[in-house]
Symmetry: D2
Subunit: 360 residues, 4 copies
């Protein structure tokens, strides 16, 4: 039996013709040679479409207000302007993470629904608008971090007299990529309130857990609806004197009290202090992140490019991109969410220190 | 080969003599027939030496003060009166748990040491005496729950002008039974302070965890030194309207924020509300517990016997003992610590509801 | 301050003009209204591009042999024909899984490399070709299941006198979607052999584990290189009399002896018996799978369409697709790999029984 | 208020009288000063009652046969001669572990019961007697290691024509110390067989696990009833060329395929090769162990004392005792079971290398 040869044949014109005929026939059988695409499929390092980018709040805010003039919440279901990574075809801030800014006007209601993507909220502006998640309502303030876990019924509303604006973060691109999207409307505009306002802060806010009930959601996500800015900011302050990480300084993760892990199963949210005069070392990691400036001013150098930021700006660090942070003036505080929990169970996270300490 | 017979031989006088001769010879070889003791070794149900018992605070307190007159902290190393289970030979409150009351006078210092047994403290009386654990000091108030984890350097002192008394709980009987006791003095009377007072409450008190450092003790125990009474009490209040457990009502566990598990690896500490008019159903479980009355009055029925309790009394529920709790007058609050974490990894915990709902 | 209105405005021509102007300006700022795409982004159920499909071995095999005539392993790096899902734009069998058929001729060597995607091999044809993974070589036989874990150096070769063909399965689409692709050549054509042939079967094949070394790869993946057909087939036979799952009958998972979990961190591989006369009930789940017929004949009904299969055929069940299996003639055996481990840590797996038991 | 003094009072005769009066009164209230016993309770290092000891098979075996002459299995329930640590008051080989030798004659049956202590069996002599555990029977051969997990129904019998003798190991002292002993007879002499002989070896013996059923016992213990000598011995042989541990050489743990952990929740069983000419370094650890010589000859030095051993001898290494092993003549194989799983969840295990490498 002649079955070919392990050594490379001389590519004669005849062989070339045979190959072309062979390749031409394969699609009919839904087959294709791997060797034709191997170099594109298996790259030495991640080649993400996402690029570093910064959205200035002074650009975003007026457009959000403009949207409020032109489109009602009722019409929009959610009045969200997406922050789209300019390098990507699919909507998202990074390959796995979605970011947007949401606005809710006094007396508006964003109707109740649930979906498999998890969501975070980080409040940018306003006071005492509410979100209701699984029957518990929380009145939000600037700097609060809120979770809307997988498949949790949620609606938003505003009984105060000023609009509220917040950063929305979702794992939607990831959930879509693994074909796990489910979405459903609640039969009514709003869900009934089954718990007191801020019940979860009082229950789960002091390192005690109810022993008379199973963990909510079997412990998959945090039962805490709202992590208050004043408490989170105080945790940073308590550790201000620590050396911290060379790359992120004093950085805390918002955690799930059932497990000590991230607040949501797919996204880790963090709050970090870039201290006055601090300029961190550069590193890169496979996980990507969306940053939001919660306080102060400074700049980040990402893939060699400098991005100056001030309060309420939002920027992205794509996968495997060198980055470093510096404050300008006083202490700065960065909120961020990242996809590390998606990578970690599979050993796919990697981190590398910049060989020169910092870029340039 | 004649090697004996599976059927029971008739016990003739001669056989009896042979047996006695045989049994008499075995000790020389450090052997003994199991069948002679099998019924004592393998009992249908646990047969603990521990009995239910209650120590009245009005008995304990004056003796604690008397001890303070007669013995210095310096002499005593720790001025602790043990609460000894009357049924047991070895010192302890239950087979696995030790309980005592400790007192520290103004200007006293209990010198620094560490040991493999874990310890809990629950403050009964006094204000602003301190404990220092692994370089962090906490000023204690009535109702505060404090942890002293395995091998953590600790000392106590009192810079206030009133004595402080607290309940001490240790897993000492368990640690002894598995031959794991280690103990060491610190080279100095007191250890240096490496952290701010109450640092751990500010760091770990709000469902955030430092992301720039490995978990203290690799997460084996809680990094929280002091769980404040006012916060713990508020958690109970938040859930007051819940149905709660039929046996324990509204009960919370003090947890380790790294894992959501018990605050210490061997002992679970809980705080529970026995609401006005509440009388729980009876159950029993393998785990044993020491209870301390943090607030209010009531009674517990344990193995059919009624124990009336009031604030600062301490009582024990031994393993596999029916028990139920009732308040008298207003809401009552019970603190307790138990050995469930010792049983759980091995599948040794069992729980049984009383067939009649309550004991008679 | 006039900031818009919560009620839906009447869409006058003027409002329409304003809206269009507003939308036109947004791309400049890399923003876009979510409400324009919400229905596409958040679908009630997963809307995967992947479709059910079956590749007949009688179509695949001659083309594989043809490829061997026309392209050397040296040229191709790996002589793999991809099995491409006809519904998908990106190369893959399902949204997360890649499948291909690889062939290696006598005396060929497929050079050493490693990559972050994990790979499985299931041997279709041939005898005693080898794969070398992290310094251990295994001689393969039909029906053997082999693992090539994340970042493990691997090469293949054939010192026997017949070609070998196997099914290749990789998590490549998933790894690409989370930007975690790394790839590297070994500096030499082949890696040195550091262990005896089949060392891992002898070490880890009997429910013992070395206690003198840390788990390989920290336990992330199985240390077993080759799960022998005869052993796996015998496990099925042992449980043949069991009722099994209503949807999958007697199905076993190839496991990681360090954890009891799947053999690879992202992909679970299974072997199942479709017994003579058995026709399973229909269900669907979010996880997708590639099936390969290891033995016998039968058919599967997927999304209402019947796919008849016989030995060495390969077919896919996309995410959230109703499916059921039936044997034709004697017992049949299906090998499959799926992406359940990717979904499970995030609570994204769901399963649903067909309301009528089976599709019609 | 005069409440005593932090400085040590001069112990005048009057103070001494007062102290004595005080101490005399305390027992009435079930209290006692900790300071009177602190040094005994909290020792710098573990002070186990257990001592190193070796039982020679040539002493044990004839007495076991003598017992068979004098006592029927029916009478004895189990014909077990306990191996009692000469230093201990309570029956046991170490503080947590029980050891005994069991003998079952042709045609005997040891009736069915279950209990919370876990048991191991290691076969010393005989062929094809059986044990039945949870409805599965296994025919035993010399060197086989068998598990009888917590609360599993089990009986033994012997349909062969030679007696069988095996080592019994139980965690009975531990289970007793935590008050968790439960014991129950099966209503009949023997339980029904619900599975084929050696079913668990065929199901779980090849690194596959049934995916259609929940783990037996929720995965708390291994589903494998019998770990065959020939397979375990082959695993040692496969790693013979490895360096191994400096203290234990090439040592394997019998594992639970559901978790990769120990075969039983409380006891880890190991098989180790003491290679020809090997003499390990000395170390000590908190865990205690019972060793049994499965093959060959050699000696161990334990707490400075040399114990020469040969096939079928049994010896103990108590907690925190220096020990090292050496072969004499050819390769030797030691089976052992230890209590490490009891210590590990609580961080109580410690290990220390001997400062001089070996004892002198």
């Amino acid at each position: 039996m002649m079955i070919g040869t392990p050594s490379t044949p001389k590519v004669t014109p005849e062989l070339q013709r045979k190959r072309e005929a062979f390749y031409a026939e394969l699609p009919e059988f839904n087959m294709r040679p791997l060797w034709a695409i191997l170099k594109d499929a298996m790259t030495p390092e991640p080649t993400t479409q996402a690029v570093p980018y910064l959205w200035k709040w002074k650009d975003v805010r007026p457009r959000m207000y403009k949207a409020a003039e032109l489109v009602s919440a009722e019409e929009a279901e959610r009045r969200v302007l997406m922050l789209l990574n300019p390098g990507m075809e699919k909507p998202g801030a990074t390959s796995t993470l979605f970011a947007g800014v949401q606005m809710i006007l006094p007396h508006e209601i964003a109707r109740t629904h649930h979906h498999t993507p998890n969501a975070i909220r980080f409040v940018i502006e306003g006071s005492r608008a509410y979100t209701t998640v699984n029957g518990e309502r929380s009145l939000m303030e600037k700097g609060d971090f809120l979770t809307t876990p997988i498949w949790a019924w949620h609606d938003h509303g505003n009984d105060a007299d000023v609009p509220m604006l917040w950063l929305d973060g979702l794992d939607m691109p990831f959930v879509q990529s693994v074909d796990a999207m489910f979405f459903e409307y609640y039969p009514e505009l709003t869900q009934p309130l089954r718990r007191e306002v801020d019940d979860s802060i009082r229950r789960y806010g002091s390192n005690l857990l109810p022993a008379f009930e199973r963990p909510i959601g079997e412990g998959l996500y945090s039962p805490v609806l709202n992590y208050r800015w004043k408490d989170a900011r105080a945790s940073l302050e308590a550790a201000k004197g620590d050396q911290g990480s060379p790359y992120d300084g004093v950085i805390f993760e918002y955690t799930n009290p059932y497990t000590g892990g991230p607040s949501l199963p797919t996204m880790s949210s963090c709050l970090q202090l870039v201290r006055k005069g601090e300029h961190t070392k550069a590193h890169r990691h496979v996980s990507s992140a969306v940053y939001h400036v919660a306080e102060g001013r400074g700049y980040s150098i990402i893939r060699g490019e400098r991005f100056d930021w001030e309060e309420s700006d939002t920027f992205v660090v794509p996968a495997w991109s060198w980055h470093e942070h510096a404050s300008a003036g006083d202490d700065a505080v960065l909120y961020s969410f990242n996809d590390r929990p998606i990578l970690k169970p599979f050993g796919l996270e990697r981190e590398q220190a910049h060989p020169k300490g910092r870029q340039e």
